[in-house]
Amino acid sequence: MSETPLLRVENLKFKYQNTGGKGSDREVLHGLSFTVERGEYVAMLGHNGSGKSTLAKLCMMILDPTEGHIFVDGVDIADPELTDAQVLAVRKKVGMVFQNPDNQMVATMAEEEVAFGPENLGIPSAEIRQRVDEALKAVGMSEYAKKEPSRLSGGQKQRIAIAGILAMHPDCIFFDESTSMLDPQGRKDVMEIIDRLNREDGVTIIHITHDMNEAARAKRVMVLHEGNFVMDGTPEEVFAQPEKLDACRLTVPQCTQVMYRLKALGFEIGDRVTTPEDCAEAIRSLLGSGEVRHG
């Protein structure tokens, strides 16, 4: 094997312990195994309650697995013998941006918010200054450095939250429905940042989302259903199976639906298309060929 995968999960099981007294424990993950290589851009889909957020929390060491192993850069984070230094090393590598930015804001000034992570990692203050400035610049929020987070819009808050993670220089970031509370402009800004982090800085991205158009921007789509992965492939491969997605209570992007239905009407058109641009191109070239045949 050439390189240790950034994330390797083996036979991961997780049960929520029933604390209410009645009923039994609820197993939400039934033995997941998968790997994510350094620099991958993964969209993780699944209906509400399918176990996506549980999986992210396990990888973030917020929850402990009931059974199985999670290796972050070769270190088993489920090992109870893990030393504090090892835990800290893992925490530096993986960051997470939540759905509601208000849930992860602690400071009264945007730049202090961004500095919170690196401060806790014990980084010297001169370097923190530099990291904060870089992180704010990366999300286009430099001019808001002195602003109070509560006075910012949802999209701006989410960009500050992302900057707070970036300042820790993680190798991998989990985005847990990080765009679902934002308006269209806020979504657009955050999606552009996610794409760029992966493309230009090689940050490994695991984006949990219900938005199929956003998922189509990833390089790999994984579908979690009832605690197991049922699909795993490129967006084109996954979205080419609308019936299977429908059974998982999911859907496909509107453009993929258009292509699929045109194909069903007998047009010779591919259905492995996920963006409006590719869809337009496919229709244009079909029209072009038709006109040639026609003439």
Partner: protein, 319 residues
């Protein structure tokens, strides 16, 4: 007469202080019975302020909010003066004292029932679930309306049917439900008050595609059964296109556009300027049109897009 109307409404937060900020300016819009209107706009465009004006949570700084033609904030004195003037113009002689008493009763009743008649479902309403069982939670509103137990039970059964909760769900603690079920239970609590105007702020936010569909279907079913006026705030243009009859676009505290889905999504360029989107199929049609392919403007559903493209392809000899 429109069911609900805003007439030249303005709203200023913290007026007369240094924090004073204008949230709404000269907003005039009306909502008809049975119509589903989608409200869109970027963060800070005034949508949330607008919603809170509708059931009297906020009082407009200027202008009026009218429910069935009655200004919901009109004072007894103002209404009396208006009625007396009207009576005089018609040459009628009426007792001022008697009239005043009638008006006071009428306006008191209006204020007391306003939050039942205009039902507001806030964002993430499941955070407000608090009772021991789902049944009790749904009963909270109707109980406060002073309805009989028999009537309350009948209403619970009815709304549970509309939102798709079973007897088993009703007896559970709301905290033992899944995310989508919790959302439906919270919405049922508002529907049980049988509001004439149902206002929902991002009712499907955070739900998976099938959860979204079932929420919107419940809303449409309620509209069908009660003829209610429905207002939905959403950031999803695709949902707006699929479920709304009309769209109201807010921008910087003003009405930027209003009309049918076709009227509004036809102007995709204008929408994008205000930081909004169009449904993905509308974007696709725009791309095809801009490369010279003859397709109609204002397509916003997958069905319409497929039939328009298919007929164009057939004309081009592609089938």
């Amino acid at each position: 007469m429109a069911k609900l109307e805003l007439s030249h409404v303005g709203y200023v937060y913290n007026p007369g202080t240094e924090f004073s900020s204008v949230a709404l300016e000269d907003v005039s819009v009306s909502f008809e019975e049975h119509a589903v209107t989608g409200i869109i706009g970027h963060t800070g465009s005034g949508k949330s302020t607008l919603l809170q004006l509708l059931n009297g949570l906020l009082k407009p700084t200027t202008g009026q909010v009218l429910l069935d033609g009655q200004d919901i904030h009109e004072t007894v004195k103002a209404k009396l003066a208006r009625e007396m003037e009207k009576a005089e113009a018609e040459g009628l002689r009426i007792s001022k004292r008697q009239k005043k008493k009638e008006i006071r009763t009428e306006l008191d009743e209006l204020r007391k029932t306003l939050c039942f008649r205009v039902g507001l479902v806030m964002q993430y309403p499941e955070y407000q679930l608090f009772e021991e069982t789902v049944r009790k939670d749904i009963a909270f509103g109707p109980k406060n309306m002073g309805l009989s137990e028999e009537e309350i039970n009948a209403r619970i059964a009815k709304v549970a049917g509309i939102v798709g909760l079973t007897e088993r769900h009703l007896n559970k603690s709301p905290f033992d439900l899944s995310g989508g079920q919790k959302r439906r239970a919270a919405i049922a609590g508002v529907l049980a008050m049988e509001p004439e105007v149902l206002v929902l702020d991002e009712p499907a936010a955070g739900l998976d595609p099938s959860g979204r569909t079932s929420i919107f279907q419940s809303i449409l079913e309620y509209r069908k059964e009660t003829n209610a006026t429905v207002l939905i705030v959403s950031h999803s243009m695709e949902d707006m296109a699929a479920y709304c009859d009309r769209v109201l676009v807010m921008n910087r505290g003003r009405v930027f556009m209003q009309g049918s889905c076709r009227d509004v999504f036809e102007q995709s360029g204008e929408l994008e300027k205000t930081g909004l989107d169009v449904p993905q199929v509308t974007h696709l049609i725009d791309l095809l049109r801009s490369s010279g392919i003859d397709l109609p403007q204002g397509i916003f559903t997958v069905d319409d897009a497929v039939s328009a493209i298919a007929s164009r392809l057939r004309e081009g000899g592609c089938s």
